[in-house]
Amino acid sequence: MSTDTAAAATGSAAAAVRRKPPKSRGVIADGSTRRSRTVRYVLLLLFLLFVLIPVYVVLITSFKTSGDTTAASQWSLPKTWTLDPWRKAWDVLQPYMVRSLSLAIPAAIISSLIGSANGFVLARWRFPGANIVFAFILFGMFIPYQAVMLPLRTTFTTLDVTRGVPTLILAHCIYGIPICTLIFRNYYATIVPNEIIESARVDGAGLVQTYLRIILPLSMSGFVVTLIWQFTSVWNDFLFALFLTQQDNGPVTLGLAALSGGQKVDYAASMAGALITSLPTLIVYIVLGRWFIGGLMAGALKG
């Protein structure tokens, strides 16, 4: 697989994971005895437990009454099940959730579109110095945002961008371009054979026609990858939110920090809040995940 960059891995790793294990495994004969399979299974289950332990305690706590969250009963099921923590958390987080949605969706779409156009040029419509431009863009993906945060805030204030959702969309669009460009560049490099582009060029098709007629129809899985990636990282972002927004116009991560940062923390409500905050990204992973991975594979095979 293409190993050139971090994000390449993101896209194509997902694809390759879905691939079936090599058929030619000499079945059990290759040293994989029944006992070793059992050991493997036990280990896998143990690790499953490790991953799920926090989920268990968060889930049960979110249904507890406030008197039931003492040290002694922390790991026991609720004495009485209640939805109050969920209601309380939802009341606090609801406006933040709306803002996060109205922010993550456009930011993901716009940066994906720009990334797709860039990726196409860098992979299949190259020009002298394209590599330098690529490196120039790539570096933007790795910078610690602290290094740009203060002047960024000043810039936005000077441009008089409305604080809140618009500032965050703008910031996530710009700083999301590198990774989207990267994913699309690797995607086009693997799925679109050069011959197709060449023959289109011979037929006199320009960049725009080639992009619209040939590339875009093949880009579905690429878009799923970048959209999921961008949606998740925009949704989960805290740093930009902290620096560029306030309580009354910030996204849900800010809301959750406020909900669970009080002096008298309501554990049940903050656990319910953590779950509510995580739901949209989890849904995206669950619903789109299969299609996203499978689609990428199909694209690769079609090429």
Partner: protein
């Protein structure tokens, strides 16, 4: 000449907005921060500031608190990378040959990645409660229930820098091991079956097969994983903010220290911290980008 511009001109034009945007918002703003870090702008007051050269950097590196945050960052990065690589590789090895229900394991191992560091920090901050014995809470309580008393510990609140930062790394390992597993799993599946067959025909043992045939194939992936994890760890902010609060000496890293410095509106000093952080990331990433681009050229 004219013809060549016709061919590649449109491509360059498509990239132009991106180059301009990133030129300003990445490189321009970094230059701006660097410029601020060379001044004596130590308050929020607007107006002219004078240049003091690298004085702010000199002060930082003479400061116990900043050196502490750098050491914390180093230990955190090592603990996080080693932990994540071990779990990720182990899970990939366990799943590599295919087991019934593989997709379920895979999805569950992977799911913590979808959760924001703030949400997981809220949860883990609560799980990593330092109380022990009869008053134990969180994971210590679980150990108490399971009679695993020897596992109870004060987590990040006491003990050496290593135990402190390893406790902070634990939630991060929990979140990203699944991702590293996916990378390695993809690597294993990408190895042509013929290679395995050939090795087996040669009579290589299972151990030798992995050691000499499969693992070398994975080294590019391991490098990618290293870079991803490394730069993630260097930027880590949300998790520490949520678990320990922003003003905790024991767990302070430069990203957090910068936030604390901003509280007193010391622009020059916080810019200097940010630039040091950037320099650390750059040392890791620039050779990698150069290597990547050069390899592309050779292809």
């Amino acid at each position: 000449m004219h013809g060549r511009i016709r061919t590649w001109g449109p491509g360059a034009l498509v990239l132009l907005p991106t180059v301009l945007l990133l030129g300003y918002f990445v490189y321009g703003l970094i230059a701006w921060s660097f410029n601020t870090s060379l001044t004596d702008r130590h308050t929020a007051r607007k107006g002219p500031a004078s240049y003091v050269g690298f004085e702010n950097y000199g002060h930082l590196f003479g400061e116990d608190r900043f050196l502490n945050s750098l050491k914390n960052l180093g230990v955190l990065t090592v603990a996080f990378i080693v932990g994540t690589l071990i779990f990720g590789l182990l899970w990939a090895l366990l799943l590599e040959k295919g087991v019934p229900g593989e997709s379920i394991f895979r999805s569950i191992y992977l799911f913590p990645m979808a959760i924001s560091m703030i949400a997981s920090g809220v949860v883990w901050g609560w799980l990593l409660n330092p109380s022990q014995g009869a008053d134990a809470r969180g994971l210590n309580r679980l150990f108490e229930i399971l009679h695993l008393h020897f596992l109870e510990n004060p987590w990040w609140t006491a003990g050496s820098r290593w135990t402190t930062m390893a406790s902070i790394a634990l939630p991060a390992v929990w979140q990203l091991s699944g991702y590293i597993m996916a990378l390695f799993l993809a690597g294993f599946r990408g190895i042509p079956p013929e290679l395995r067959e050939a090795a087996r025909v040669d009579g290589a043992s299972e151990f030798k097969l992995y050691r000499h045939v499969l693992f070398p194939q994975l080294s590019p992936i391991a490098l990618s994983a290293l870079i991803i994890l490394g730069h993630m760890s260097l930027k880590l902010f949300d998790l520490i903010y949520a678990i320990t609060g922003p003003n905790q000496f024991r767990t302070e890293v430069p990203a957090i220290y910068m936030w604390n410095t901003l509280l007193r509106s010391d622009m020059a000093k916080s810019a200097a911290i940010a630039i040091v952080l950037l320099a650390v990331v750059a040392v890791l990433v620039i050779p990698y980008i150069a290597y990547t681009v050069r390899q592309e050229n050779e292809e």
